[in-house]
């Protein structure tokens, strides 16, 4: 018979893991890069949630964002450009007991991997996704990305980007099956951590867009928001963010938003100024693809033998088939 793989894993003792247990190689991102803030939040999250490093996988594609797995001391899968989602889905399907995170960028997710992104939202597998959105291609040295602002001068758009930027939040909220959509910013680490924790705890595809500074190629892009807290609107709710007193006094622009309300979520997602930060949408009841498909079953050889023989029976001509004797001579 079949049974789930996670049922077969015996925890002999609960181990406690410190922050160091998750710290891999020294990050080679630029000084001041927002990726460092995301990495710090993830290491803290793994430690606080006490995730066994051997049961945790960070999957990524290609780009600055996708170096993150190298700096974790868990399992990591640094694959190919744009394909982090299907790789992560395959891992989750084979091993639903693993904690699977996806680290992707605005090029990796919203451009070359856009088809996979849309369908990953649909599948709603239990994955925690951080979209490192710095509005620019960094690893290949300053080309416009789908989220670059119009007019942005880059090596491929020397006269300014011609198109309006894509809004990953509204796109995500337009997909049937989406179950957790949030936005964070690298310069408010406390909120970034809280959102990532909520994302991890949500059972389903948790998509967090993290606005992230690129000091090298987009140095001033987020300055207005850094200088004026009023331009950031924090979404609060008893089922969402709960702000510390310190944060509340700095970021006074707050809005109560129930993350189950998708229509309101879509409205908020469209805002450009102020930008919303918090959990826009969360539906804890959306079914996960791996559950619908009964992932992670273990099969005994006898079970496979029986199934195979059942199929072969349908196509078998037996030597003692009585029809043999009835054969027309």
């Amino acid at each position: 018979m079949t049974r789930s793989l996670s049922q077969c894993v015996i925890k002999l003792h609960e181990e406690h893991h410190d922050l160091e247990d998750y710290q891999g190689g020294v990050p080679r991102w630029c000084n001041g890069c927002g990726d460092n803030a995301i990495l710090a939040a993830m290491q803290r999250l793994c430690s606080d949630e006490n995730l066994a490093p051997e049961n945790t996988v960070f999957v990524s594609g290609i780009g600055c964002s996708s170096r993150l797995p190298h700096y974790m001391k868990t399992y990591g899968f640094h694959g190919i450009h744009g394909r982090a989602f299907p790789v992560a889905e395959g891992i989750k399907m084979a091993r639903p007991d693993l904690n699977v995170f996806v680290s992707t960028g605005d090029g990796d997710c919203c451009s070359i991997g856009a088809a996979h992104w849309i369908h990953a939202l649909r599948y709603n597998m239990n994955l925690t996704v951080m979209l490192h959105d710095n509005h620019v291609y960094g690893l290949t040295k300053k080309q416009a990305s789908p989220t670059s602002p119009r007019g942005f001068k880059s090596n491929t758009t020397p006269y300014g980007a011609t198109l309006e930027p894509m809004n990953p939040l509204t796109v995500s909220l337009g997909v049937q099956g989406a179950s957790f959509i949030a936005q964070a910013v690298d310069w408010i680490p406390e909120v970034l951590y809280d959102i990532m924790r909520a994302a991890f705890r949500h059972r389903g595809f948790s998509f967090v867009r993290v606005l992230q500074r690129c000091p090298e190629f987009m140095p001033k892009a987020f300055d207005p928001w850094l200088h004026d807290p009023q331009k950031t609107m924090l979404l609060t709710h008893r089922d969402g963010l709960q702000l510390s007193a310190g944060l509340s006094s700095t970021y006074r622009n707050q809005r109560e938003h129930d993350p189950i309300n998708i229509d309101r979520a879509r409205e908020i997602a469209s805002l450009e100024d102020p930008i919303p930060v918090g959990i826009l949408y969360r539906n804890p009841d959306a079914p996960c693809y791996e559950d619908l498909r009964h992932a992670g079953q273990m099969r005994s050889p006898e079970y496979i033998r029986a199934g195979l023989n059942r199929e072969l029976d349908k196509y078998t001509v037996w030597p003692d088939d009585e029809a043999a004797t009835r054969r027309v001579a």
């Binding site: 051997e54 790789v87 889905e89 395959g90 084979a94 091993r95 195979l308 072969l312």
Partner: protein, 634 residues
């Protein structure tokens, strides 16, 4: 009912027909698309196989799903070759054809698919059609066919079926099955069983009415046709299964113990996934229809990385799309089975037609040096076992194994001994034991290049797998010596596998004047040609490769024993007679090119890429010409 069109007198005035014994016959049932000719032919083949006859079916498929009715290019149907002995290919020309209209028949005649003097059973209703143009076309065709020496029998198919069912267009395929079973003396009880099986999912009324159609057809043939055949059958004392190549691949996936198949719909591979979707979940497996071919491959890679080796099933264009992901699996040494049911290419090419055009893409595909294992099943039985072997090699060597089936194998039915399941076929459980301190995820063996892979869940094995060049610890390496160490290890694994492969057997004689070399689905046709040529006294043999990469040892010695070697392949090669083609620019067929470069032997090739299975008669002609040419020059 108006029977004036039938040429034979009523049954009452005739004595029972004696059955003429024959060794084999090639039968075709052709129609417009959607008239059930294929179901009729598949059933005929299954019944004959159950009686112990050798069979091979070849589907005749128009490229369009619904080509215009009554069109020369729209011929849809099936060829069934029935023999006393084992049948390994579709043969040359048809002995008897049942045609549902004269236009599709013209298509087959023009393609030279009918034997001179072949018997034709032609639906006669067109002679009374209200459209005068159709009546004229029908009469003209019948007259022309008779003039050309064909034996034409006009059969009131729909007219007779109308007496039994309301929609005779849908039912006449079973009427035809009745005619054919009567003509070849096939067992009526087996036929009824077969009908019950194909309509098993529908209600009993459907089965009853189709059995009635079958019986009416048989009775009509008994009463109206003046000939009958008997193809002696020899029942095997072993249980046999009768399936096509795609079903065999799907059953192979089940039998290999793989858990996950990720795919995207593509002709002619899709029926593997159709069948697998129906049965795989019942044994705890899973078919994932991904959003595209790239995702299907990446999904399989992710599943394989964290669990047992996974499989992705595709055809030409999908295979092209998967290249980058395949390169990742090669670089990261993730086991992966890729089944490519080849079709005509490049680009969209000929989606429903056979071609062996992907050998070089399979061997060399993906940028950089990306060594992969490439296997080519050469019979239906092989389709089943290849997948099991592929899974095992993939997992043992941490490699990508490409299985090159093709459109011909995909739909061809052939009986083979029923596989007896063995636990050795299955993948071992996923290794979750702790990794000893200091263990490295790519601890390449200096001789074989092999290393033990670490999988998520294994304590102490944590590392970041990467498509970047990496060292033994999976750390990104830009150091030139480290890059070469990885390239060497991945390449050595092919050599390690190669050392385990046996030399391919030689069919015919151990030495001689001409050796034909083939791979994949052409084996049956090539070996039949060799048998015929040897019967003519020619010293011709053949060798068939199941492994294209790596190539087994011993081939060099075999090649030396023959004066002349040529490959026979279903792909493109430049024709030496073309004005611009000379020895310096001629592009050889895939296998010929591989053999020439590896063994430095002057190997010729003959190939065709007409989208049809290669026929034994054509191979005979090519071989005779080659021997004659060689005789003149030497």
């Amino acid at each position: 009912m108006n029977d004036t069109l039938t040429l034979t007198p009523p049954a009452a005035t005739r004595t029972p027909r004696p059955a003429q014994p024959i060794a084999e016959h090639i039968v075709e049932v052709i129609s417009d698309s959607g008239e059930g000719a294929q179901r009729c032919g598949q059933s005929l083949a299954a019944i004959a196989a159950r009686m112990g006859n050798g069979i091979w079916t070849t589907e005749i498929i128009p490229a369009e799903i619904q080509p215009p009715a009554r069109s020369v290019a729209g011929a849809s149907g099936i060829r069934i070759r029935i023999g006393s002995e084992r049948v390994t290919n579709g043969g040359d020309q048809t002995d008897l054809v049942v045609a549902f209209n004269e236009q599709v028949l013209i298509g087959r005649v023009q393609a030279d698919e009918l034997k001179p003097g072949a018997t034709i059973l032609l639906e006669s209703m067109w002679s009374e059609h209200r459209d005068a143009a159709i009546v004229a076309s029908y009469a003209k065709t019948v007259a022309a066919l008779k003039r050309d020496g064909f034996k034409v029998y006009e059969v009131p198919l729909e007219a007779r079926c109308k007496e039994l069912v309301s929609d005779p267009r849908k039912g006449k395929n079973m009427f035809v099955l009745g005619i054919l079973c009567n003509l070849y003396g096939l067992d009526a009880a087996l036929a009824r069983e077969q009908i019950a099986r194909i309509f098993g999912k529908k209600d009993a009324k459907v089965i009853t009415s189709n059995v009635a159609l079958y019986e009416a057809g048989a009775a009509w043939a008994e009463a109206n046709l003046d000939f009958k055949y008997r193809i002696p059958a020899q029942r095997s004392n072993q249980a046999q299964v009768v399936i096509n190549g795609n079903t065999a691949v799907a059953l192979g996936v089940m039998a290999s113990g793989m858990d996950i198949c990720a795919m995207y719909p593509i002709t002619p591979a899709t029926s593997v996934s159709h069948y697998l979707s129906e049965v795989f979940e019942k044994v705890g497996g899973l078919v994932h229809q991904a959003e595209d071919e790239i995702a299907a491959c990446a999904f399989a890679i992710g599943a394989s990385y964290a669990g047992k080796c996974a499989v992705t099933v595709t055809s030409g264009p999908g295979y092209s799309l998967k290249q980058e992901a395949i390169g990742l699996a090669v670089m990261a040494e993730i086991p992966l089975v890729v089944v490519n049911v080849q079709r005509g290419g490049p680009s969209t090419g000929q989606p429903t037609k056979v071609e062996q055009g992907d050998a070089l893409a399979a061997i060399f595909g993906s940028h950089g040096d990306a060594p992969k294992v490439v296997m080519a099943p050469c019979s239906i039985e092989d389709c089943f076992y290849s997948v099991i072997t592929a899974r095992k090699i993939a997992e043992t060597f941490g490699m990508v194994v490409v299985v090159l089936s093709d459109a011909s194998l995909s739909t061809a039915q052939q009986p083979f001994p029923r596989p007896e399941f063995s636990e050795d076929w299955l993948a071992p459980p996923v290794d979750q034991t702790p990794v000893p301190a200091g263990g490295k995820p790519y601890d390449w063996d200096p001789v074989t290049g092999l290393s033990r892979r670490f999988q998520p869940g294994q304590p102490g094995g944590m590392h970041t797998l990467t498509g970047l060049a990496h060292d033994r610890a999976s750390k990104v390496a830009y150091d030139p010596t480290i890059n070469e160490e990885g390239l060497r290890a991945r390449s050595l694994k092919l050599a390690a596998l190669q050392k385990t492969l046996k030399a391919p057997p030689v069919f015919g004689g151990n030495d001689g004047d001409l050796l034909l070399v083939g791979w994949g689905s052409t084996m049956g046709a090539i070996e039949e040609a060799v048998t015929r040529l040897r019967a003519e006294g020619l010293a011709v043999s053949s060798m068939h490769l199941r492994f294209l990469q790596p190539m087994p040892s011993g081939i060099r010695e075999i090649l030396k024993r023959f004066k002349y070697v040529m490959t026979i392949e279903g792909n493109w090669s430049d024709k030496p007679e073309d004005e611009l083609i000379d020895e310096d620019n001629r592009r050889y067929s895939a296998l010929a090119m591989m053999l020439r470069s590896r063994f430095l032997v002057d190997i010729d090739c003959w190939s065709e890429a007409r989208g049809q299975p290669i026929k034994p008669g054509d191979i005979c002609r090519v071989a005779r010409d080659a021997l004659q040419l060689k005789g003149k020059t030497s």
